[in-house]
């Protein structure tokens, strides 16, 4: 049994807990939180909920610690710190800062004699795998990544910071005509605006100026200004009733040419349709925890990403079973 620790008990941490329960070769050893542990009841019977600061005391009871904090401020500190003590997996998803995060975690893990795997989720993560496999197989081609339809929590938060907004939910939606153009193999050059639209459901505070709110949202740099954005004002009841979930998904599509005079076109498409973004990410973290444990047992140390992990290590099946049933 692989003994799993969960650091951080929000949406992602709870998802990890449920995912561990689906994997018969794993057991949950402890949940760590920065809140008051007495205020938290884990879903798994008899699992200790401990203060985050107590993690070091559990070093010999945990095989892999799954880090469920955020990429903005938690993981840049937590992952290196905990990689000195534990094999770790995180879902660090700030693409531009992955090289620096990798370097910090690699140094820490080598110091601790542990194995760390960063950026395991779906993007970065499963989508990265698709980009690398498809790019290697079709070197003469183009890769496109589309996100949605799904809730962007960062964009929803940005709307909530607009004055007069009580609550909001933002959906990122891929543009159907762009998808069609990509799938045709035409390798179009697409602008930001051509690839995705943004759809916002906003609950305004009583008496707020909705015209001003809409204008502020649509003109917000980086978040909305480069997109065709739609704003719908709805009631709090409607928001809770129709927009409570965190669905997401997207597609990685690569088209490429092969053969004499590059006459033949091929399309590789990898598509995710997810009811719950955090629970799906959690499930990936747990599968990679298995691989991390096996790689550490085999003597590997330092920082890895999903690109370094042989797929067989993710599966509970043996190499023999995989060849007989899955190949």
């Amino acid at each position: 049994m692989i003994r799993i620790g969960i650091m951080g008990y929000g949406n992602l941490g709870r998802g990890v807990e449920y995912a561990v329960a689906q994997n018969p070769d794993m057991q949950l050893a402890a949940v760590f939180t920065r809140r008051d542990p007495a205020s938290i009841q884990a879903a798994t019977p008899d699992v200790p909920v401990l203060a985050a600061g107590k993690a070091a005391e559990m070093q010999d009871k945990i095989d892999v610690m799954i880090l469920c904090g955020g990429s903005a401020t938690d993981l840049p500190k937590q992952t290196p710190a905990l990689a000195r003590l534990f094999n770790v997996v995180d879902s660090f998803d700030t693409h531009a800062r992955i090289p620096e995060h990798f370097a910090a975690v690699d140094a820490a893990a080598k110091e601790g004699g542990t194995l760390a795997l960063i950026s395991a989720g779906w993007d970065p993560g499963l989508f990265s795998l698709s980009r690398v496999y498809a790019g290697a197989v079709l070197p003469q081609g183009e890769t496109y990544t589309f996100w949605g339809k799904g809730v962007s929590q960062g964009h929803s938060d940005a709307i909530r910071r607009v004055e007069g907004v009580q609550d909001a939910r933002q959906y990122t939606v891929p543009v159907e005509s762009a998808l069609e153009a990509v799938r045709s193999g035409a390798q179009p050059v697409l602008t930001t605006r051509q690839k995705h639209t943004r759809e916002c459901f906003v609950v305004a505070k009583p008496g707020a100026d909705t015209a001003r709110i809409e204008k502020e949202i649509k003109e917000m740099p980086n978040y909305f200004a480069d997109y065709d954005t739609t704003v719908h004002f709805i009631s709090e009841e409607e928001l809770l009733r129709d927009h409570a979930g965190l669905p997401h998904g997207g597609m990685v599509i690569r088209t490429g040419k092969t053969g004499k005079d590059s006459a033949n076109t091929h399309v590789i498409e990898y598509k995710l349709t997810l009811d719950s973004n955090p629970e799906f990410t959690s499930s990936i973290l747990v599968a990679y925890a298995r691989a991390v444990w096996r790689m550490h047992e085999a003597g590997q140390q330092g920082c890895k990403t999903v690109l370094d992990v042989p797929p067989a290590l993710l599966s509970p099946l043996s190499g023999e079973e995989l060849r007989a049933t899955m190949l």
Copy 2:
């Protein structure tokens, strides 16, 4: 530069030749054939075309030999024999016999101190990867593989063996309603007949009894009896004009549940749409040749499959470049 040898110069071998030309870190060292080498002109200038029996003489000029023979009779002999001399990649695709092929090749490669990778194509191959990744991430779910729309060469050959048939092309077609049921997350149990139909385009010999031919095709055990099969009689001109290509493709779809009371459903879909089945397979073989060479350089020996290969090894980019641009 990785020096590639091609054993067998049919559709697959020619595809490998074009794929090697798309990869700047590779060069074609020699083509081997069982036909008269003087009768063959390689597409690549100045590449020697040699008799298959001369392969051993080229041992120090080839880093990876790509085996382009058939799975029925060529590869079971060729792959073990050549793995004693070279690092090899093959596309062995008789799923049921993979374990025995693996054992034979593993013994030969260990004897030769080489690295061999078998069953690199799209099914087995990229589809196997999708099945393993998706199965590991969503342990509580079902995986479905659909093939087509595309030309099945085995089924086309079977029709050609019917008396009175001059030529034929058979398309395997996934049933749209089955795809919809699978994508809905309902995890339906589907019979062979419910998943695919078979569409046959047949050129009858002059005076042949087309009613008898159609009946024989539709009742052919294993190949057609378990499917809804349509037979169209067409002229040779139509066959050449409309059915000259070898398109194929398919989908691996896994749906699974996560979270409290398994309330959330997720769909992972991997889809290929290929103008040329052999050229796409060739492109995969070439990408895996890079990985095979790197793994051998790192000291690994014996037989591997795609499930054992870290994705990063397929890409010409370094780990640092991959993390900065592809993750």
